[in-house]
Amino acid sequence: MLEYRLFTMATRVSLFVTCLVDQFFPKIGLGMVEVLERLGYQIDFPEAQTCCGQPAFNSGFRGEARQVGRHFLSVFRDAEAIVCPSGSCAAMVRRHYAELFHKDPEALAAVRVLGERVWEFSEFLVRVAGREEVGACWEGVVTYHDSCHSLRELGLAEEPRRLLRAVRGLELREMDLAEECCGFGGTFSVKFHDVSGSMLGAKIESIRRTGASAVVSTDASCLMQIRGGLSRAGLPVRTLHVAEVLAAR
């Protein structure tokens, strides 16, 4: 059970942007920086970072996942607080690294230390920084998609919603299938693409029914899946990461 200690404003936060955000959605990373600096945190970005290893782990390639995981552990060895824009990556480190490295005592020791210091972005803001209102302004109706990892592995149902409700001008309208999986699931989206597509279809319909102009989530992978579907369907609904909304003024 994680202990949420309130950090003082002088704390340095290390960004783990995730491979997906780095290469495809850098604005999400910039959004995080904007918000954290606004709250007075000092940001550092260990440039040697790449990935947490989840894609390999989920596909059954534990050896490869361990190699990449060890790299992650060494890159962030000295970090005080690691914040990432992904519930699934935070969950990977906090909940699956222990199992992945159960035969490697050295890595396991590092996992125990780091595991206490990795947070998903909205989780960090609400539970560690103790903030809900972060000076953001965004006009319009948005709906929120619960990423499975954030919701079920990290227990984050309320925190992202509280942050969104505190945004000036923003109206949060719930979709009926908010908690349903979008169908991404890593390589599942390709290996079982028709099932994945069917799940995506239901999610898109649920979004459309809200009449919202944007859908927000804590995970870029979900947003990639959802945007892929919205784009294909020609629906003019924007996809935004929580960080992007909170960074807006």
Partner: protein
């Protein structure tokens, strides 16, 4: 194998009527479950789940002890216990019993374990007519099909299909009204209950200290099958044991609600052996058949042992976005849904359907609703690791392995990772105005079959960060 798996999935997804029926039926059961576990209805729900998990854990960890207690008690109460290692032994025991007692007709109540061991076919071969009496099971028996769902075996059938079946197989006139169809079944099966010499049931729980079999149902067919014929045979997997009758105060509220949203079903039978001296009715003879059929192997695997905690409520099926779309018949083996996805590979072996553990987005909804807190996603991940390990041992390296070898190497070398990113930028440029890519070659073709793909960003985050640091 896997081609057939994908084909069955395709087939299910293309059948619009079936899609609607299964999605609606599971949705209804899911909503009923949700309504029955809200704090106003069951304030202790989470606490009960934890207790149930621990009771099962303790029992499995001391299974030999509890099975011996159970067997002793059954025998003390005048019953008999037969231990069967596999399907063949179960078939043999029941076949022999039927022969020795001159049984021509047996009535059966729902038992997934009996499906597992192909009991009905074996009985037919021994010249015993074995009639399923649960309405859903009765229907699929007439159709020659297997159960579609753990709790609702005929979920996929329409009233028209039932009318066709009854007309063809029962020689009755065509009837499409459901209440009348139910009455037809009642009349036909009533005759069987009264004439059968043997009643075969499953067991939801086996209570060790009581030597008892607990059966939970709504129809009453299990009550009739276990009370009218002179012999009652209960077939149950060894993992069904719980230590004490009082433990039912934890399990029954969870089972009813998780399965159908009912705090208690119409009938919960607590049966311990044949009729006692002085009792007015009930069987002369009781035989409990304890079935292994791969369960002891699962027991030996600490990481996946909790697969055996399952109380067969079906909640995971009703909540799984994959099951709700691909349906029960897409899965290999007798058990479908998330529990099937972890149980079948462990019973039939991973090579039976190596892609099965991958047919999940790992959303975790199943673990959230499991009354005994089985961490199904974690077990799926373990099975995935085992599939790939086996492939490595067999030297069967496909493009995926190669891909991840390269991927892992890139991820350990940040500069190379960045270079790869730049190369991807150059190759995968989209229409140019930020619009997403409509079609991709190779493995990603499957992605673009139903969605667009993002173009890599013109500048990666790390490039932007460096710029920013240079020009504060």
């Amino acid at each position: 194998m896997s081609v057939a798996f994908h084909q069955r999935i395709q087939y299910a997804l293309l059948d619009e009527r079936l899609q609607q029926a299964v999605y609606a039926a599971t949705g209804r059961l899911r909503d009923k479950r949700r309504g029955s576990i809200v704090p106003g209805q069951l304030p202790d729900y989470q606490e009960l789940r934890t207790h149930a998990h621990h009771i099962k854990k303790h029992t499995m960890e001391n299974l030999d002890y509890y099975l011996e207690v159970l067997a002793r008690r059954v025998e003390e109460r005048g019953g008999r216990v037969a231990w069967c290692r596999d399907a063949g032994e179960v078939q043999e025991v029941i076949g022999r019993l039927a022969r020795e007692r001159g049984i021509r007709l047996a009535v059966k109540s729902k038992s997934m374990t009996s499906e597992e061991v192909h009991l009905n076919e074996a009985l037919e071969r021994s010249g015993v007519e074995a009639v399923e009496t649960d309405l859903g099971e009765f229907i699929i028996q007439l159709a020659g099909e297997r159960p579609y769902h753990i709790v609702a075996p005929a979920m996929h059938k329409t009233r028209q299909q039932v009318a066709d079946l009854f007309e063809a197989k029962l020689g009755v006139g065509r009837v499409e009204e459901i209440p009348r169809q139910t009455m037809i079944a009642r009349v036909v099966l009533r005759k069987k209950f009264l004439e059968a010499g043997m009643g075969i049931s499953g067991a939801n729980f086996l209570v060790a200290e009581s030597g008892a079999v607990v059966i939970v149902e709504n129809e009453g067919n299990a009550r009739l099958a276990t009370s009218s014929p002179r012999i009652h045979v209960a077939v149950a997997g060894v993992e069904k044991v719980i230590p004490r009758a009082a433990d039912l105060a934890v399990f029954l509220p969870l089972l009813g609600r998780s399965a159908t949203g009912q705090p208690l079903t119409s009938y919960t039978s607590f049966l311990s052996g044949p009729r006692r001296a002085g009792e007015l009715d009930g069987p002369d003879e009781f035989c409990l058949i304890l079935v292994d059929n791969g369960r002891t192997r699962i027991l030996a695997d600490r990481g996946k042992r909790e697969t055996l905690y399952c109380i067969r409520c079906g909640a995971c099926l009703n909540t799984c976005p994959v099951y709700r779309r691909i349906g029960g018949y897409s899965y290999p083996g007798v058990y479908s849904g998330p529990i099937g996805a972890i149980l079948t590979p462990q019973v039939l072996g991973l090579s039976h359907e190596p892609e099965l553990p991958f047919a999940s987005s790992l959303c975790g909804a199943c673990a959230e609703v499991c009354p005994v807190k089985i961490d199904i996603p974690r077990i799926l991940l373990e099975l995935r690791g085992e599939v790939k390990k086996q492939e490595a041992r067999d030297r069967r390296w496909g493009p995926e392995k190669l891909g991840f070898l390269v991927w892992a190497w890139l991820m350990r070398h940040p500069r190379l990772f960045e270079l790869a990113g730049l190369a991807a930028q150059a190759m995968l440029s989209g229409p140019g105005d930020g619009r997403w890519i409509r079609s991709l070659p190779g493995p990603l073709k499957a992605w673009t079959a139903s969605r667009d793909f993002p173009p890599p960003a013109a500048r990666s985050f790390r490039q932007l960060w460096r710029r920013r640091v240079r020009t504060p």
